[in-house]
Structure formats: structure tokens, C-alpha cells
Symmetry: C2
Subunit: 84 residues, 2 copies
Amino acid sequence: MKVEVRVYPKEGVLDPQGRAIASALERLGHRSVSDVRAGKIFFLDLRGDDPAAVEAEARRMAEELLANTVIEGYDVLLETERER
Amino acid sequence: MKVEVRVYPKEGVLDPQGRAIASALERLGHRSVSDVRAGKIFFLDLRGDDPAAVEAEARRMAEELLANTVIEGYDVLLETERER
């Protein structure tokens, strides 16, 4: 079962990578940029047929390894919920 | 207007970060992992009201800076298309 885990800086946490990207985009002439936040996305392929169990397992992975929950938030999306 | 740009390794491109994460998850006891691919996600806030123009601008940003299109694919999602 395909699962996406999206990890992003929490509101209020400084995001220097996002700031650097915003500046670079402006230098490239993209004047419409007002903010950029940079995060990570993990495409997991997990064995299991029960969507609730697979989602719970993915949340444990996010808490234990994929996200630093002090400064990052995350969401878990089963791919069945929408097409890519 | 909020836009997400998701960048991921193309099919067939080696993803050492994803492999390392899969191994680490297995060592942590997550036996259901069969594959992990690691990508990046950018949350852009762009000025403009025309969804088609904003999406086109975000695609140019992806081509020019956010993705390395030799080895990475990307998708652009306007946040109006779904709730977070």
C-alpha cells in the first residue's frame, strides 16, 4: 500500500532553506514569490491491506524517524485517498 | 495563492537516501516496509489570482530551480484543489 508522509517546518520555526530558495527565485525573476517553506516527502510502500493499520504504522515511522517533531509537523496520506 | 511543488526521484533513478531510510526503519522494527523514496516538497505562497497563471509560474520555478529534471520529476498542486 502506497503512503506519502509529508514533513514540513512548524509555523513559527525559522526555515533558512525556504528563505534561500525564495531569494534565489526572486533573483531568477520570479517576482510573485511571497513565501517559500521547504519540507520533505517520503513515498513509502508498506505491506498490509488494512488502511487504518497501515496509516498508524506510517505515523509511528514519522514520529520515530521521518520527522523531528520538535520543529517539524507531518501528515500521512494513503495514496488511495487521491490520485497522484 | 498557496502552491505545493513535490519533487521526487524519477523511476529507475537510484535513491540512496530512500534506501538508507528503509534500512533504518527496518532496524527500528518496522517490518512492513517494502520501499521508500525520498523527495522534497516546497510550499510556495505566490501573488496572483489566476490559478492557471500561478500554476504555470510554479512550473517554471520547478524547471529552473526546484527540481533537477534530469533525475527528478515534479508535480504542482494548487492548494485550492484539496484541503491540507
